[in-house]
Subunit: 421 residues, 2 copies
Amino acid sequence: MTLVVQKYGGSSVADAERIKRVAERIVSARKAGDDVAVVVSAMGDTTDDLLDLAHQVSPLPPGRELDMLLTSGERISMALLAMAIHNLGYEARSFTGSQAGVITTSSHGKARIIDVTPGRLQSAIDEGAVAILAGFQGIAQDTKDITTLGRGGSDTTAVALAAAMHADQCEIYTDVDGVFTADPRIVPTAHKLDTVTYEEMLELAASGAKVLHLRAVEYARRFNMPIHVRSSYSTKPGTIVAGSMEDLPVEQALISGVAHDRSEAKITVLSVPDEPGRAAKIFQVVTDAEINIDMIVQNVSTKATGRTDISFTLPKTDGAAAMTALQKTRDEIGFEGLLFDDHIGKVSLVGAGMRSNPGVAATFFRALSEAGVNIEMISTSEIRVSVVCRDTDLDEAVRALHEAFDLGGDEEAVVYAGTGR
Amino acid sequence: MTLVVQKYGGSSVADAERIKRVAERIVSARKAGDDVAVVVSAMGDTTDDLLDLAHQVSPLPPGRELDMLLTSGERISMALLAMAIHNLGYEARSFTGSQAGVITTSSHGKARIIDVTPGRLQSAIDEGAVAILAGFQGIAQDTKDITTLGRGGSDTTAVALAAAMHADQCEIYTDVDGVFTADPRIVPTAHKLDTVTYEEMLELAASGAKVLHLRAVEYARRFNMPIHVRSSYSTKPGTIVAGSMEDLPVEQALISGVAHDRSEAKITVLSVPDEPGRAAKIFQVVTDAEINIDMIVQNVSTKATGRTDISFTLPKTDGAAAMTALQKTRDEIGFEGLLFDDHIGKVSLVGAGMRSNPGVAATFFRALSEAGVNIEMISTSEIRVSVVCRDTDLDEAVRALHEAFDLGGDEEAVVYAGTGR
């Protein structure tokens, strides 16, 4: 018997009609003879609606209670999905993260999965039922309080469940057909990838591709659990995320795709004394505020003044917190001012083949130069090149790189509205 | 240290503003030096909205999943309430029925509480926090599945929690000022009772008074846990439900109040052969359909035919099910037809003093007669007289009895919209 884990995002279960359609898809897998465990997100905008309610009663709600509140979202969708499956003549049982043994750290709002002990789900499946698990949530190992995994947590739940149950497949259903060479809304000739390695998918996810959450891919790589990313609106095969780039054949395509990210902002710290420890102090202040820094540029210091400018990028949503934290240390660090710029964009080229091909960088920068895109910051990894540019240049930069590396396909890309979590 | 259990119904926490007001009331109890455990219902119409959703995906949702769905309602309200308390500078922790050890039978939708083991709530209180418990829900002792207690379940949760924690007080906050001598919307001179015994409250609740749920009163009597029924919109004292009528002084008021009920219907089984076992068979059929019968009247059989009519009352909502079940046994029982009448009303007079005062019945029937109310059925207990009449006569019957027994007060009655569960 094949065991399939299927994960459906919030847009796939946004209303009663869509829930019924998902139930039909699950039942057709059962009819084909598969055992099925399902991970489901909250319906459509439920999470945002609940957050609104929370902020109506408290500007700074405690994390424990926020997690208690938000986890009601999956409770609703999973129970409705079980009813819809039941209505099609199949047995289904829903389980909360706590009931299903999703053990996490106690860091509310961004807990990490420690272990999954899905005994009750296994029993349900052994008795012929579809087992449904609430995504995005778990129970803290030490406090026994309810936790959430943060945005994208349902993908991670699905991969962790598939690994714990030794599933044969982990299917992530979403509102696009799979992983594309670029965002089809920007590049109409973008085409779907049939396969992509864990490493490439990690770089794509970290560079702004929203189709899979970074942590889910990390989890999949750790447990060597292949993910099938596919559309919940069609039965076409999607993209298989599997395998290490070490195992790739030599003739593997050079480049997998172009990712872009509009969610970052840039902070420039002006005229910092160019002495050991000053830069470190700046980044310590930001890190202490629990803010992730992405890219960093330090200008060459002018000998006359012995001072330098330091720029770094961070999530836009953390901008205010970082500015406040830095402002407080102005005298201590001795900088002259702070600039905040939220009109930047980041474009990244990702491909396992890039390791052994030194020509990639040259083509990359020539393409951007010919497109008139001014580069503000650069960062690279073994299989990725990223640059920061003006946000108004971002679409053109994506198109230019997609064209320069000949990533276009014949297949027409299909894009649907909405995002899951 | 005094421990107070407070229960707030759905209308008291219907939106963010009301939740904040409830939080202020809880905090003022904390400031007065009391330890507080709170039981809360789902916000306003949440339960009905969730039921609507359920019926959109399935006409007959399985009970296990319906309970999973509905329990998300209290999860939302209790988390929001904890946040609102937190925002006022006090610690608060919310717990589901399962987390709080509310152990029940496994009868989904109408589970009964077997035991409450509130260790986590006690710890929270010992650490200085307000402990908040989701009303209406628990965990099945055998299956470990989530259960609900049915309508009115939050009252029962509150009383059970108060008993398990040996609380000094159990306050049920509602949208009226307490228990009244009659519904003030019908009788403007109705006045609030300061105290009422468990037995009288049981009879009032069973006769249609909605202020407290029957099962909660049964629980309170069993554990001798006094209940203070009071308004969540004022700080005036409400009604204390406590004590047995055995302990009442002789000069205790004869009559506590007049209750009425529009929720019942009457079924008449026509021309039943007047032989032993036929009536029993009728009631067996109805009972097998899990329908509660209230009052029964069997007409005197006419000797000529050897047949008789049997009438009984039942909840209107069970009318269709009862008619279907009876129709199937028509040939077996040998009756000639069925009549369904949902235009009846029931009025009841309740008072512990009635036991030792034979004049009550005479006054009761004279008052109804003078008011021109035609009596269709009669039932009595030691401390109650109930009659069924036309629903159009019901208000007049309530007023006539209230007047005849001189129950009017000087205090003006206050009525608010909405009901809890």
